[in-house]
Symmetry: C2
Subunit: 266 residues, 2 copies
């Protein structure tokens, strides 16, 4: 049976709230995801929250009900609570109907099956959680095999990244790696490393991509280091006709990924 919690001081509420903080997340190796759509997406990929919070008013919603039963069957906690506590958990005035606490699921390069897709996304020193989530969403849309994060990237399990991913965090494998380790793994088998750059004459539309293509996007402010660029099989640029001469990193990744997808589908 679901428990009812209405006190802000409840330890489970406090625990979940603290997962918004990176330090606590790192210690607990758990993270928070919100929203019926995202939690249902997670459930369909076989991931259930360890703790599920939902508003009493939504108890009879069929998807909430199904989530609650599955969580309890799996030995988790299903907690009926108030809109105020959901607001506190999500940090938003209009909270989602459900908030879940999940175990983190880190993968390593060895877990990836590079034959599973012709497109892989690689981002180095990505700093913005919204960009990370948006890139995951794009990865899902183009059918990418996964997202590989190189170096000091923002935490993919941060509330903002999970939110921006719209559930893709659960459908797309994410691996955190260092550059040397990634490069070693990459070169063990065929794979084309394509870097997005401003310092090249190769237009991204004129270039030809060979599956599996690994698309490397550099840091939002600085782009990628020169030695990373030198290690690429191909550097390509997206034309920019304006004055600012820059695209958002998630946008640039998506424009590239859709070109690769279009070529691979021909």
């Amino acid at each position: 049976m679901p428990r009812e919690i209405t006190a802000f001081s409840n330890p489970l509420v406090k625990y979940a709230r603290e997962l918004r903080d990176k330090k606590h997340r790192r210690g607990a190796r758990q993270f928070m995801a919100e929203g019926l759509r995202i939690l249902t997406e997670a459930r369909e990929t076989g991931r259930l929250p360890r703790i599920l919070f939902y508003a009493a008013a939504n108890a009879d919603h069929p998807l909430v009900h199904a989530l609650s039963i599955d969580v309890e069957m799996a030995g988790g906690e299903s907690i009926q609570t108030t809109p105020d506590i959901l607001s506190k958990l999500s940090g938003k005035d209009n909270p989602q109907a459900v908030v879940g606490v999940f175990d983190e699921f880190d993968r390593t390069l060895a877990d990836l099956d590079r034959g599973s897709s012709g497109i892989w996304l690689v981002a180095e020193r990505l700093r913005d959680p919204g960009n990370l989530g948006t890139i995951l969403r794009t990865a899902d849309a183009v059918g990418a095999g996964g997202l590989i994060l190189i170096g000091e990237c923002v935490d993919p399990f941060s509330v903002e990244a999970v939110r921006a991913s719209m559930g893709a965090l659960f459908t797309i494998p994410v691996v955190r790696s260092e550059w040397a380790e990634f490069l070693g793994w990459l070169r063990e088998e065929p794979g084309q490393l394509v870097g997005l750059s401003l310092d090249t004459e190769h237009d991204y539309r004129a270039a030809r991509y060979a599956a599996p293509t690994f698309l490397l996007t550099g840091n939002e402010a600085q782009g990628m280091p020169a030695d990373y660029a030198a290690a690429c099989d191909l550097l390509v640029k997206i034309p920019m006709l304006g004055k600012a001469d820059s695209l958002n990193a998630a946008v640039a990744t998506a424009v590239m990924a859709y070109e690769v997808l279009a070529q691979q589908r021909r």
Copy 2:
């Protein structure tokens, strides 16, 4: 000569700080932009802040110096201040070197010269300021003629939108309009209205675009109303191979805009 202000209670500091709030912005018809890159971009397009705040430590930076002189020549206030006050103004722990207060510059449809570009971006009920700024940045990159905002959109002069635009707010004309007014204006002269939709069989790559193309992106959560879709000359979809069946609105706009650009450059 620049004034020096070190007190949080100074009325100019208070005034600028309040521009983060939509209500104050609306009354004052002024907005705040931060960062040397963005303010220099603004200066190059002929827009100078009415009030310029900069950290004393950056007073000798050539771009800060040039900005300060131009602001004073134009009758504005140039204010040397502390990192703490810049933090308070920008709402960030690591503030930018400069913060400027600018007059808003609303344009109307009549101000647009549709012969000036083959690509125009149109967004309806866009709610996320980051998306708006990112779309402006994309508009700059593809050489779009402008961005037309339909209905209740987020304020393009909000701090978050200005920040995400990376200066493109100053280079790309933005017009706020209602749907009926926009449609009337659009049909006065040639122009192809292309809607991004999930409910069509037309692949965005197979479609053919005729300049000037007006790319319509719907609300982040709901897409566009049926009657807006019905008014389009063409509906196209971006293939989505994943489970989530959605792309970030700014990403979808960019993928479309780059396809139109590629066709128009052929």
